[in-house]
Amino acid sequence: MTTIWNAILRPLNSQVRLRKYGRDACFCLAVAVMFLFAAEVAARVEDRLRLGVELFAVPDHDRDLILHDAIAVRGRPNGRFKKWALNNFGFRNAEMAKDPPEKCVRVMVLGASESFGLYESQGKEYPAQLQGILRSGCYEVVNAAITGLTVRAIIQLWNGWGSEFAPDVVVVYPTPAFYLANTAPDDPRPPAGPVPAGPPPWTLRLIDRARDVIDMPAFIQRRRVARTLAGKRRNEPGWSFDSVPEERTRRFEEDLRTLVHSVQRSGARIVLLTHATGFGSPPKAAEQDALTAWLQFCPRASAEILLQFEAVAATSTKHVASQETASVVDVASKMNGHGEWFAEDYLHFNDAGAGVIAGLVADYILSDANVTAHPARRQHHRLESD
């Protein structure tokens, strides 16, 4: 009798069990969906409250921060992306008037991501710290730097946009490594053809945040870098740089000279900064990964050539400054090899490093008696603009 009952009940039991498992699975799925939904909503609300990003916006670094038009590659006016916020003229500093404040010295900072600020906490990028140090006097620091600007692009930015703001001092921190890219930097041209209309494809804000937080283990990152490098390198003879390419050095020097002339023509004083990295000489074992990662941007060079080029570029910067009676602050000699002042890539500053370079520039500005506001020059500039 029991056997018969078991025979009848067994399939029934398994069906009941199956239904229970199904119910549990649906429940878990619903809980997971709830988790993701709440996280996405919270991320959007927080972005709205903290950064002013619209709830349904699709943030994009290049589109939200960079404007590439007929004038130059420059900051997008009122651009916002994550911690980065630009003012009404597309500069990374507080709102400002176009004309410099009366009797105050306007200092304009030009450069790429190192000057724009990448890894520093908000308000700790070097131009902001420079403004903090100079606060006791009447100085206004304008951060006109934008990520990825070569010296060529800086010239264009200065001629087309920066000079409009009549700074008294222009501080330039050029990035030499751009000159070791596959092709030497040229004048940036506005994108050809129609710009894609509408926002980029919709993405989960949560995924974006996860990308910021999740740090892949070193071995995975190493593999990724190796794969990227292998994909970019060519086996053609003469493609790789066997030594520091003279033609690229010359190009860097020429561009720098052109920039100096352009700035000097406006009557502003130009201060060139030599480029520094946190890599030791020779690089330590712990720095090898960062050095290899850097090579992704200049695959034709080896690590040695890259570092040699940095040294040559620093000499060139000083050479140009002395020939063109520009001022120079030797950041490289002070900061090179001090990994503790740099972010993990040994190229961009951390908060402390940004403080060091800001201090060096401030020392120069405060010690140079010629750094003053020039009302006459400004008047002339205003008339020219009209």
């Binding site: 429940f27 619903a30 809980v31 997971a32 709830m34 988790f35 993701l36 939904f37 709440a38 996280a39 996405e40 909503v41 919270a42 991320a43 927080e46 972005d47 409250l49 903290r50 949560l206 945040r209 996860a210 910021d212 937080v213 999740i214």
Partner: protein
């Protein structure tokens, strides 16, 4: 390692939990808890694990001494040596520079030119907590309140239990002795829900409430000397709530983690801003510390049994040392003395105070506690005086930005801490309803999103 960090949530906790329940033997579980405790602690600075190991070993040996010897002299030795060792560790790492600075300052006041150099000593995180764990174990063993354990790993698991290692609660051995003893037979599912729920409620308190308030309070506090009176009151109210949610959040997470591993960690906060008088406040705020101070300091000093003056002295001494426990600074001593004075005054005027309506008593108590936090938050008396003068002499000054967010954050924090349910109220039912899982999932989602956005901020009580 922080509870509100991804390395803890995504790596440390899952691995620790999975391996713990895969192990069947109670000793293996003790060993695993010890190992994970040291990893958790060493993640900050591995060198200081040696300090904890030393303190553990000394206290364990003293416990064995209590088991072996019954004569008073040896037992007293077993009491004095480890307690003095622990207090010396605490003294050297926490109070040396304070002593040197205070001596120099006192010498200057006396007209002597003595400048004692400040030593480069790093304060090990949580040293005040784990030394208290070991001290309570020793004293309880000496008093015969507990029977010391012979199992070294049971004791080391108790001291280095990661859930309460760096910021408490100060769990006494007797409070989890039975759970530790039954660790081999504990049913994994019995308290899992409860543990997860406690942990998430604590995470909400920390990440959503305390960190939001911190984002408003910290920038305001950076310019405290320029704030208007109203802005100062709002800032101090914000700090009052921030501190509570920060620490209560940590404690609730610790309770939750304890449940997940079959250990019932006692309640550390019982809605302290619902307190109606100073005595009530200290029965609700940092319960594990205040009960330790009561049992190991106030009562041995004579408690309230030897007349009014001795009681007053005992209260002041206990609260002064309680303040000093929090930090090596005169402002912490002032904070302790302030609360001691409140307790003394309350004893004198209890009958008058009790005649006030409950709402008035609760509000007045909140304001009194807020004033105390001025000393707690200030780095020196100059800052404390500046804040107090701004609070009590209405005047113009900078107002707070983002007033709407301030109002919202303060209103929510005030409701939750002064009228709403605390974590233990929320877990009154033995088994929560199934739909509660959706609320927990949503709350956890919010926390994860905020953690990914603003990063993990350390707990305020880590500094103690």
């Amino acid at each position: 390692m922080l509870f509100n960090s991804f390395v803890f949530l995504c790596a440390f906790l899952p691995v620790t939990y999975a391996v713990f329940w895969l192990l069947r033997d109670v000793s293996a579980r003790y060993i695993w808890l010890t190992i994970t405790g040291y990893i958790f602690y060493g993640y900050w600075n591995p060198r200081f694990t040696l300090l904890m190991a030393f303190s553990t070993l000394v206290s364990y040996l003293a416990g064995l001494g209590f088991l072996e010897w019954s004569d008073a002299r040896r037992r007293r030795l077993c009491l004095v040596v480890p307690v003095v060792t622990d207090l010396c560790l605490l003294g050297v790492f926490k109070y040396t520079n304070f002593l040197l600075e205070s001596t120099s300052q006192a010498a200057h006041l006396l007209g002597l030119n003595i400048n004692l150099p400040r030593l480069s000593i790093i304060l090990p995180i949580g040293i005040s907590f784990y030394t208290f764990h070991t001290i309570t174990y020793i004293v309880d063993s000496y008093r015969g309140t507990i029977k010391p354990t012979r199992n070294f790993f049971e004791f080391s698991a108790y001291v280095s239990l990661f859930s309460q290692l760096v910021a408490g609660p100060i769990v006494r051995f007797r409070q989890i002795e039975s759970d530790l003893g039954n660790l081999g037979e504990t049913d994994r599912m019995r308290w899992l829900w409860r543990g997860v729920s406690f942990f998430i409620v604590g995470l909400v308190e920390k990440v959503v409430v305390a960190d939001t308030l911190a984002a408003l309070v910290d920038p305001a506090m950076a310019h405290y000397s320029t704030l208007s009176s109203l802005a100062m009151w709002l800032t101090m109210a914000g700090y009052t709530f921030q501190l509570y949610f920060d620490f209560a959040g940590y404690s609730d997470m610790a309770v939750g983690l304890g449940y997940m591993f079959g250990l019932r960690i006692p309640q550390n906060f019982n809605a302290p801003y619902k307190a109606l008088d100073p005595s009530d406040f200290w029965r609700r705020w940092h319960i594990s510390l205040s009960s330790c101070l009561r049992d190991y300091l106030y009562i041995p000093l004579g408690g309230s049994r030897r007349g009014e003056w001795i009681t007053t002295r005992n209260l002041l001494v206990t609260m002064l040392l309680g303040g000093l426990w929090h930090g090596a600074s005169w402002t912490f001593i002032a904070w302790g003395l302030y609360h001691g004075t409140l307790l003394v005054l309350y004893r004198r005027f209890e009958s008058l105070w009790s005649r006030l309506p409950a709402l008035a008593r609760q509000s007045a108590m909140f304001v009194l506690v807020l004033i105390g936090w001025v000393f707690f938050r200030s780095t020196d008396f100059h800052m404390a005086w500046s804040i107090l003068s701004r609070l009590f002499s209405p005047g113009p000054g900078a107002e707070l930005p983002a007033t709407g967010l301030w109002t919202l954050a303060l209103a929510f924090a005030a409701w939750w801490s002064m009228a709403g349910p605390n974590a233990f109220d929320l877990h009154a039912a033995e088994q929560p309803k199934r739909r509660y899982a959706f609320a927990l999932a949503a709350a956890f989602g919010v926390c994860v999103a905020l953690m990914a956005g603003t990063g993990s901020s350390p707990f305020l009580y880590f500094q103690f």
